[in-house]
Amino acid sequence: MAGGLTYTAVDSTSLSTAEIYGKALVELGRAHKDVVALTADLAKSTKIGDFQKEFPDRFFNVGIAEQNLVGVAAGMAKAGLVPFLSTFSQFASFRAADQLHTDICYQNVNAKVIATHSGTSFGQAGSTHHAICDIAVTRAIPNLTVIVPADGMETYNAVMAAYETPGPFYIRINRGFDRVLYKDGDYGFEVGKAVTVHEGTDITVIACGSCVFQALQAAEFLDKTDGLKVRVLDMHTISPIDRDAILKAVGDTRRIITVEDHNIDGGLGSAVAEVVVESGKGCAFKKLGIPRTFAPIGLHEDIMSIVGIDSNGIIEAVREVMGKDFELDDDWDDEV
């Protein structure tokens, strides 16, 4: 990986996720002259000010104009640069959806969208600034790799991997601080490969973004209190999804819960469900997310609690799914 892993757990507790992205971008800028950064009046919010300071000739603020932001980046990529554009997730995925679809993904250019303030992480800003449908939109676009990092360290890994991997990327990160999941960067991050953050054989919780930490907490709690062995997968790459990890979870645990800071429809849960249904295997299944509604205004952690995507919500869901009268099929091998 470019630049090497220079961040520690100390850094990721003292830096917000977007700040870690900002540092990673500077590293990339130092190592690669073809890296340019763009934003639409959100350099401060998306933490790319350091890049602007160090590389003023490779930094472009196009004002509050997200469609233009994405189009300009596409043109730069067509000419051989590697643009990293940063704006809020909602605007990158919806305001500029046509440019993302056509200019970046249809043309299959080497542009990287770093979409910040994702999910309900900008909680108090309300639904105009929550991005709860962006995974649904982006994962449906061909050629686009969609990554939802679980914390700052994973964001660093994802940004570095995005530079090393030709083609369009959409990396969806949170506003503010994420709970630290990975103590160091060397845990085997690979685009398209889920990370098993907790082993288990009774049920699998497949999570992304800030919900991975919550799922891990739930798993540790349930082991102590209920004696349940909960497998937790950090499904950081939503597209292309890690089919093997999902099918293995179906085979090993036959119970799956998905959890995401996103509308319950169209996101991670839907992506996992597609794989499960296509497998033809029986599996108890439950999706956790924002339940087909716009989320309330509030602190991110409060919203996560209200909609049931925090550790308490996950614990409750695990108990519900474990209590389901779900018969094991003795003729597993006969299933299509």
Binding site: V62, N68, A74, G75, M76, K78, L81, D103
Partner: protein, 289 residues
């Protein structure tokens, strides 16, 4: 500086050949965006045959001048230009719009050689062109980026976002055109959604504007020569054109934004193009230096 007569006549001959090939392509396809194709064709001709720094033997040469045809539906005129240069097999024009053809209404930059950007969704091209022009600055390259917009397309707000960026960053290695044929699908531009005062709009967005007859190679050449020498604000060439230029029954008629050509219309159109060419040659003979 006025075009030399011989150069002007050579451009007229090439434009006539390309108009015929555009008509043929429309006939082979059964229908197409022929109106806007004919209005933009002289701009495509003069750019590819007089101004653009390209290498026929290396269409992907990294220092080449770029063209973003923002009015991507004019692919039916653009494809003949790119085939005529030898970058794509002319036989492909016979399958234009056919199932599994490499060439459809809106040309795909990953399939058709020489297309610098996949356009078709209107209001995208100027941003892409600004990006290419800014990239030249970052990369220390001297290539120029040309962009051609449709006038109806200028209803899209994203163009004005791009215009502000071009002006703010003084993107003067970008030379833009609007094909001002005053027609769009549902009617005349001023009836559907008024664009006037159009030249003033571009001026107020920070462009130097040159207004020309988009079917007069001498006027186009003078405006492009100016833009190439300019080191100030970005230049917008508002080219007043005629939808369907050269085919009498289509001219200035918005109904011919997209139309079908049968055998009878095809024969009539060929005759009309020949007469149009004759008149344009007479003008070049008369006005050329």
């Amino acid at each position: 500086m006025a075009l030399k007569k011989a150069d002007w006549l050579a451009l007229e001959k090439k434009a006539h050949e390309l108009r015929r090939l555009t008509l043929d392509t429309t006939f082979w396809a059964g229908s197409g965006h022929i109106g806007g194709g004919m209005s933009v064709l002289d701009m495509l001709t003069i750019l590819y045959h007089r101004y653009m720094n390209i290498k026929i033997e290396d269409p992907n040469w990294e220092d080449r001048d770029r063209l973003v045809l923002s009015k991507g539906h004019a692919g039916i005129a653009y494809a003949p230009v790119l085939c005529d240069l030898g970058w794509n097999d002319k036989e492909q024009l016979k399958t234009f719009n056919h199932t599994n053809s490499k060439m459809g209404m809106h040309l795909d930059s990953n399939k058709v050689i020489g297309v610098d950007a996949s356009t078709g969704s209107l209001g995208h091209g100027l941003s892409i062109a600004v990006g290419m022009a800014l990239a030249a600055r970052v990369l220390g390259k001297s290539y120029k980026t040309y962009c051609i917009l449709g006038d109806g397309e200028c209803d899209e707000g994203s163009n004005w976002e791009a215009a502000m960026t071009a002006a703010h960053y003084k993107v003067n290695n970008l030379i833009s055109f609007v094909d001002r044929n005053k027609c769009m699908i549902d009617g005349r531009t001023e009836d559907v959604l008024g664009l006037e005062p159009f030249v003033d709009k571009w001026k107020s967005f920070g462009f130097i504007v040159k207004e020309v007859d988009g079917h007069n190679f001498n006027e186009l050449a003078e405006a492009i020569d100016f833009a190439l020498q300019n080191d100030g604000a970005p230049v917008m060439i508002v080219a007043n054109t005629i939808k369907g230029a050269g085919i009498d029954f289509m001219e200035d008629n918005y109904v011919w934004h997209y139309g079908a050509i049968d055998e009878e219309k095809y024969e009539d159109a060929k005759k009309s193009l020949d007469a149009y060419y004759k008149k344009r040659v007479e003008r070049a003979e008369r006005e050329g230096a």
